[in-house]
Symmetry: C2
Subunit: 412 residues, 2 copies
């Protein structure tokens, strides 16, 4: 994409009230726009990152048998009353609204109730199970405090998958495959090395639920890391047992972290309240065993910025970067830059091409702020020799190479 | 996709309160689920149709220079107060909600206000213009009555593009290119032949705005068609001038229609109220000239069903069908059907493969209801001869052909 055609501009400062690094950098780079506290719009470059994250999650959810659907935000109170989650004194983060006839509606903050009710229309026999259904859908949460940029917002896209199984065993097998899929997702996104499977309390239907916590000094959560097992436990668990649930190690290290995903065994809590049953091969009725599995792609994007930045700007991991490289045309190199741009695109590389009429200094500062994994400079000198100056965003080394070598390097 | 892995089931009847053909058929076929009056969830097959429509619109918006972004649903009242569109007595379809500190928020029913405010951060000079920004985003409209299935809902995805131009001339050139893009979109979706450019009243900044109206007996709108020009005028215009605006023909035919898109010249109404200005080459400040351009992919989906169905079910146009063909395995043909399924997929055809353990009659009835453009039957007889029985959904003719010929036919 030609940068001259991108409407967003970078800026030297972020709004004074922003405290978090992710919001400051993403706002300065023009990836997002602040509509109000806790609600950010995604501008073209930010939407590319968000869509890259979504594409990775979608592939891994499909790989474990997920079927994609799209539920509504507007919520009929009825199923929520049956599960006792409608009342604001129980769930304090509802946004509620009204039809013109004054009937009260909610804006979904999660979807266990409507999807359980929906499945009643499609599941009746053991033959209809298991079902794994997921969506990328906008959630609304009336958070009291929002000070962490994309890490905690009042409106955000969530990937939520719900599993419907015939038995606890069938459920547990899927739960394990979801756990593995989550690890793969965070690896592909580029935050896997800092992200730990974390034991959390499990509620009435299982001993544990699990969070995926990315270690990061600016995280809102506290976790306790077992160095031997490379897992963590959260605060609730440490208060109960103060040891690693896997190896019983009691020397756990307290660290700050960001919760980037969570998976829960729901047992029959929702299927019981909403009457979701199936008939087994012997003709006996059972309640369906459920699980839920969430990841917030926007929060993952914010987490990547918290982890990967320096004083000059963002360092996007290559799996989710808006473009694989940023090509800057310097004075005298404009004609050759056009050719380089076309060759890179023909080779299937995604390129942000800075063809703007601004100074080399401004282009380099913007390249550092925007954070593509590779920076390519086409100056008058390199143009003459039909080579390009190449630098990785996270390295100091500058190399000169021909376009074929550049393409090989970008694709490696 | 194997139909045995699809969780949705078809049903013989739709909820009694549904009056519209699109809702009845889409509910029976398991494409959508009714959450409440005017709010439908999209199930896997329905989401495939919706995404096919979205992909066509996105391609054509990108082709005329559109940059995709994603704005929030939650709305700060301030910009809406400045344009005098916050008060319920002026805009009666707001859904409003409150933060926990009682501050009032709105759920966007359109996005002129926030996008104009946003552009103030990125547009200041003539060099920054023109800008064409669009999104696929969920709108909320507190409609009084909703009785037309996907044609009028309280929550729906809308493609809304907003144009920002330096002058009326620059605006008009883009307005014409948007008009042409819309015609292309409706052609590619398969409803172009019934969809007419329709003159509507233009407000204070232009004589006309334009709707795209699909002629259909079950439409909510009335239009007046000029047979010579193949355009229409809407009710407002006929009351003013009772003639075709292009050829002055006064013999206009009254017809029912569904509005599937609309484009408006907004002039400086929003840029004036919200202070969106640019400095020209001579250093003079001007207000930005705006336009807005909407299509509802869900409504387009409902319209396609209203146009293309028979007593047995839906007939999807090939441009938006969930799969290009529906392959049914009949007794004795199961093994060969598997091979046919793989060959079709290898050739790049999208296939819904009915591998379920149900009767041929049930499979054929479902194929008619679900409405893929081609039905392929692999029976014991055709399996023996390594051929397939092929029928178009909208034709009676049954043909027998080998797999190579099938692939050629599907791709033609």
């Amino acid at each position: 994409m030609k940068q001259s055609q991108l409407f967003t501009k970078t800026s030297k400062s972020a709004p004074a009230e922003e405290q978090s690094t992710n919001a400051k950098l993403l706002l300065r780079a023009g990836f997002i726009h602040k509509e109000m506290a806790g609600a950010y719009s995604f501008l073209p470059l930010g939407l590319r990152v968000l869509n890259n994250i979504i594409a990775i999650i979608r592939e891994e959810m499909n790989a474990i048998g997920g079927e994609e659907l799209l539920l509504t935000s507007l919520q009929n109170p009825e199923p929520w009353k049956k599960t006792k989650r409608w009342d604001n004194s129980v769930v304090d983060m509802w946004f509620k609204t009204k039809l013109s006839n004054e009937a009260e509606l909610g804006l979904a903050n999660t979807h266990e109730e409507p999807i359980t009710a929906l499945m009643g229309h499609h599941i009746s026999s053991w033959r209809d199970l298991p079902v794994y259904a997921y969506q990328f859908q906008t959630k609304f949460r009336n958070e009291l405090r929002v000070r962490s940029g994309l890490l905690r917002t009042r409106e955000f896209i969530m990937k939520d998958l719900y599993s419907f199984s015939r038995s606890q065993e069938e459920h547990e097998a899927f739960y394990e495959s979801a756990k593995a899929a989550y690890a793969k997702i965070f690896d592909r996104i580029g935050i896997g090395a800092s992200t730990l499977l974390t034991f959390a309390s499990g509620g009435s239907f299982s001993k544990y639920s699990h969070e995926f916590q990315t270690l990061c000094d600016t995280g809102e959560d506290t976790v306790y890391v077992c160095k031997d097992c490379k897992v963590a436990v959260n605060k609730e668990i440490i208060e109960e047992q103060s040891a690693c649930p896997q190896c019983k190690n009691t020397e756990l290290k307290e660290e700050r972290a960001i919760e980037v995903g969570n998976i829960f065994s729901l047992g029959t809590r929702f299927s019981e309240a909403l009457g979701l049953k199936f008939i087994d091969e012997q003709g006996t009725k059972h309640e369906v065993v459920m699980g839920s599995y969430g990841i917030g792609p926007g929060r993952v994007m914010g987490t990547a910025v918290e982890l990967f930045h320096d004083e000059k700007g963002i360092l996007w991991p290559s799996g989710i970067a808006p473009f694989s490289c940023h090509l800057l045309a310097f004075p005298g190199g404009e004609a050759q830059a056009k050719i380089t741009y076309e060759k890179l695109q023909q080779a299937g590389c995604t390129v942000l091409y800075d063809d703007r009429d601004v100074s080399p200094g401004e282009k380099m500062a913007d390249a550092d702020l925007l954070g593509m994994p590779w920076r390519l400079i086409q100056s008058g000198k390199t143009a003459e020799k039909k080579v390009v100056e190449v630098k990785k965003r996270d390295k100091e080394t500058i190399e000169i190479m021909d376009i074929k070598t550049v393409i090989k390097r970008l694709k490696s």
